[in-house]
Symmetry: C3
Subunit: 221 residues, 3 copies
Amino acid sequence: MTSPHLLTALEHFAVATGACSGVLAGSGKRVDLFGVLVLGLVTAFGGGTLRDVLLGAYPVVWVARPELLSTGLGAALVTFFAARHWEFPAGGLLVADAFGLALFTVLGARRAAEFAAAQGFALSPVAEIGFGVVTGVAGGVLRDALMREIPLVFRKDIYLYATAALAGAAVLILGRELGVPEQPRWLLASGTTLALRLAAIRWKLTLPLFRSRHEPPAAAG
Amino acid sequence: MTSPHLLTALEHFAVATGACSGVLAGSGKRVDLFGVLVLGLVTAFGGGTLRDVLLGAYPVVWVARPELLSTGLGAALVTFFAARHWEFPAGGLLVADAFGLALFTVLGARRAAEFAAAQGFALSPVAEIGFGVVTGVAGGVLRDALMREIPLVFRKDIYLYATAALAGAAVLILGRELGVPEQPRWLLASGTTLALRLAAIRWKLTLPLFRSRHEPPAAAG
Amino acid sequence: MTSPHLLTALEHFAVATGACSGVLAGSGKRVDLFGVLVLGLVTAFGGGTLRDVLLGAYPVVWVARPELLSTGLGAALVTFFAARHWEFPAGGLLVADAFGLALFTVLGARRAAEFAAAQGFALSPVAEIGFGVVTGVAGGVLRDALMREIPLVFRKDIYLYATAALAGAAVLILGRELGVPEQPRWLLASGTTLALRLAAIRWKLTLPLFRSRHEPPAAAG
């Protein structure tokens, strides 16, 4: 039996982790306090916001749940000041980030399924997985786009980041088809994402690179 | 008399073309299987998704029509594996892409007009043209933004890409004002886009470059 | 007593200013007439559009108010042709831009509050400020992202651009809590943004840069 209080606490933790990683992404760039706060909030809420906008599920997450917004803002501010004097442990951040990825992916797929059911439209399994992956990874993609970097999910050395989200969301939906009850199913799905991501970091696992006989495209596609 | 089956088949073809061009855009970049699938899906569905979100027309296209999503996913997967061994004919891709541009533009403007009519709000001709152009070109713009390139539609050497979409959408709306019946109007409009784009590729036609007495803006301009 | 006609006139002025600054941002880049029009419209309407999409307030601003769209399009066209022969006064543009920032921020926060009230959901003060800031600055952020530059709001040398928006929106909401009537409150809030931004340009005021003990992040976060 999962306590709703536990789930809420985990969400706050994942939002804080996202905000923290967003702020630290501004390290070494010429950004000021405001820019860093935006980076933190975009990383923490970008995935959930894009999911809600693509679903048409209004009000979006940070409007509907102001206490999550406060957590994100507070975590970004604390990171901004703490990072001047203190170096965050890289390993701890990676694990916290993997945890956030797993939680957001499962919660995102679940929110999409519940919203579709409430609105009375069907959601294909592929779309449902897509909403999970979007919720899990879009915050980081937006952060990278704002900082003018190739989004991490497109880079080989990210070690199964988005792929771990994909696998977790797939387990979630497969489990439902097989009649696995809700809570073991959530645990299994988020455990899949978490384990894949941590194993990929540990052993530097990657998907095969795209090898193409084409030159990078010139004029039109 | 247009058969709805024919229209649906054309849509699947255009989605497959978009997914294929998105995957090939990852050639020569360090992207993996997942990144390449995302590029394919974003290129195929980015325009329609942005149109639906800007309209507030929920559920968005790839949720409402899962069979199109499957086509896009399948085409991206096939391209990923085929491109290792086989070089796609550049000329054929350009023509297929021009065809997709023409179809998406006309369908996009039409969808916006129908949705506005169903919701009971007026759509200005400029906005209607805008929805057509967004549907036609936004997939490619998003693909380029994710790959950190200046979007093709902003580059001179793209040969009237967005302009062809603009002209087709304008013909569509002008034809309606003049009382041209639906089917010849669609044919005329998509024919305009297709012909303009193909002619522009053939004879390297471009719009005049922006010539300005200004330096590239510095601080806030 | 603010006349609604005056407010409308100010809005048209701010849209025209945004479109003009968007077009001029294409100076020195290889963009054509179409690209420049898109840059102008994105700069003028990006903030309001993103606000409406995040709120779920449909139809979005340029659909609901076609006369504003015409103003933006006209201003972009005029700038495109005028910039070939005439150099716009940089100081005048900066002041006009600061004015647009102030107006859009206040109108954005107000629109969000009114929409939330009409829909019957609460809007936290932080979210309300966020909608004001998004309306004020997102157009420029999108313009920069399309042109592949680090968005100006993230750069130190932008002189309190987004921070001025933040302060204005905060004044607006604080004033309401303190019971200040609408019109002095709007004037005070937009005056705060305008004064801060102009003072920051004049005396080159900036927020402190983010100083971090971290290296720019490598793999994940």
